[in-house]
Symmetry: C2
Subunit: 119 residues, 2 copies
DNA sequence: CCATTGCTTCAACGATTGTTGAAACGTAAA
DNA sequence: TTTACGTTTCAACAATCGTTGAAGCAATGG
């Protein structure tokens, strides 16, 4: 991930509705959610949702697949983790105090220490 | 850090010039950089820089102090680490595969394992 | 086939954002 | 005080963004 992609991803997340879409999709897991479900969940019109979904997709944060009449959107885990890694690499720049607090978040995410999630 | 703050911070980073300001300030360390120095380094006019600095400051990502004729800007490490922690907490949501890659970034930042940066 | 459901495209619009130059402000030196 | 320097404020503008409704396209069911 280069600077351009990272900035695009940040811009994509820097909008309330889009941020909520990403959160909803991450929470939903790999199965994802239909566009219509998302629209009601977030509280925006179908048209508006499509607009935001396109932005997120273009930023590499989500992906979609058709399933019958529905279009299912799901989180692009790789894009998200790339972004986190980039932010930490770029902003830490030899200053552990910046990303040290992330250790706590990490353990909360990964569960008890020692369960080693392999990259 | 709540959702509103996080979205504001992402929006602040979602702009090339602002992103570069943050990177330059993190790299510069606690001493920070004078506004004029930043302007030449980023390649924007003083007026324009002030605009972006105000955004970043409002998003809690940078801070400033006056020193003689100059105004020195520096990275707000707490704001940055809060953002990282929030992103990881919010986006992991029980899915280690999202933030597992961050472990690599973390070790790159913190140096050899065992130097334990305390939160 | 036609009708219906689910989503996307299109065209338009108001609102926000990024950029600019001129003017003003705060600080320090002559 | 006058002058110069560094930064910010102001007013204006083009460009981008977010939202809307109407129309269009894909997929299923009658």
């Amino acid at each position: 991930m280069d600077e351009r992609q990272a900035v695009a991803a940040f811009a994509a997340l820097g909008q309330e509705n889009r941020f909520r879409v990403v959160r909803a999709l991450v929470t939903a897991g790999p199965d994802g959610l239909a566009a219509g479900t998302l629209a009601t969940e977030i509280g925006v019109s179908a048209t508006n949702l499509t607009f935001h979904l396109k932005e997120l997709s273009h930023a590499g944060l989500i992906q979609s697949r058709r399933e019958g009449k529905s279009v299912i959107y799901s989180a692009a885990y790789e894009g998200l983790s790339d972004l986190i890694a980039f932010l930490m690499r770029d902003c830490c720049q030899g200053r552990p105090e910046v990303c040290a607090p992330a250790v706590a978040a990490l353990s909360a995410c990964n569960g008890p220490p020692g369960d080693g999630a392999h990259v």
